[in-house]
Symmetry: C2
Subunit: 253 residues, 2 copies
Amino acid sequence: MEEHAADPSHPRYRSLLMRHRLEIAAEKGMLADSALIAHGRGEAYDYLLDEKTSSSAHVATQVALGALVNAQHPVLSVNGNVVALAGDEMLLLAAKLDCPLEVNIFYRTPERMQALLSDLHERKTRLGIDAEILGAEPDATIPGLKGPRAKCESKGILQADVILVPLEDGDRCEALVAMGKTVIVIDLNPLSRSARRGSITIVDELTRCLENMLSMDRTQLPSLESYDHNQTLQDALNTIVDGMRNKFSDGKE
Amino acid sequence: MEEHAADPSHPRYRSLLMRHRLEIAAEKGMLADSALIAHGRGEAYDYLLDEKTSSSAHVATQVALGALVNAQHPVLSVNGNVVALAGDEMLLLAAKLDCPLEVNIFYRTPERMQALLSDLHERKTRLGIDAEILGAEPDATIPGLKGPRAKCESKGILQADVILVPLEDGDRCEALVAMGKTVIVIDLNPLSRSARRGSITIVDELTRCLENMLSMDRTQLPSLESYDHNQTLQDALNTIVDGMRNKFSDGKE
């Protein structure tokens, strides 16, 4: 880990901790080549969001949790960066919702799949929780996607009515929406294709969002009907814009 | 290289080309651990700037070139990402300005220094140009910095009156400014410490900026006195903000 990162009082502790988690995952062969660049893009947006969960993102998180709680077949989809950054939190959420978690990666190779599945099973044992981990035996495909990236499990992603896809590729997000699913996106870039195409988008950092979701009162959640997608994305842009307005012109920094 | 990247008509050709250059540099041991994450942050800001050189950035580039042309001892400082992304362009600029280029890296190890110096000498031979490459024999230090990151050459960075530091770390940028130098920063994040602390800041993508600089008419450059630092940074923020305003609220995307 980089200097100072072991000290939780360091202002960049959390950011350095996330980098450390990615370093470990990279060593284990869990990540795609583009993983670190993608993480850097996220860091830039989180910086612009002042590294805080906005009230709008908090409401979107509540709506998303409500959709998962009320689903017939909720599924949590995880890729390399998600397992690296928040494998524990995703497993804890799956256990709490009593739903499967499915490894589903864009650049699919047997080696990466094995590394991710092993890591998740180790985490599950360490956490001492019960959660079904899918992805090892794909027997179905997501319509509209080509090649290995279309693979999924029939008892997981294929039959899901509500699916959580943190840090998802735009093509796959669109393909899942086209299947008629309620697709919940967690993405720091409110302008990304995933953020725009998702049914419910939470513009927040992954671990902050999941910690919020895990601690929420499940009896007091707003309805999906109350969720305004465009307004949620615009709220995120406004948060960024408000931080930039007159930042230099008025002499302040 | 990732799919489609070999086709220059692909809308993401340039972005994929830059990633490809980083992959090659990583294989050669030229990059720090944080290099790809830093590049991803840059990608996010360039996306917000619509991947174009703004008129304000163009003027800042002209001012910067004028400062280099009129300097007594101009020096171009390069780190791992700069050599990876724009080693050729930096050497061409050094040849054009008849000034030294100095390898100066934050996470300094003998192996990385050697990899960067070898790469630059190979490029120089291939380009068939004359440019002095410094950094191999540091005999001075930048005051205010600790450890290996303070090292520099007395006939290079130490004596420079005007120094170009693309993609520079904030601490080192501040230390160079504190030495009384005119520090020219190239940085895609107008809010970064380097961007704020630099004497002249060009908020633009590195290779776009250098290509502009290499093709500029050197007889028609605006003076340093005409440069408004805060306004230049605010212009960059305004470009970002203008792209975000009412992006979703009015129903457009």
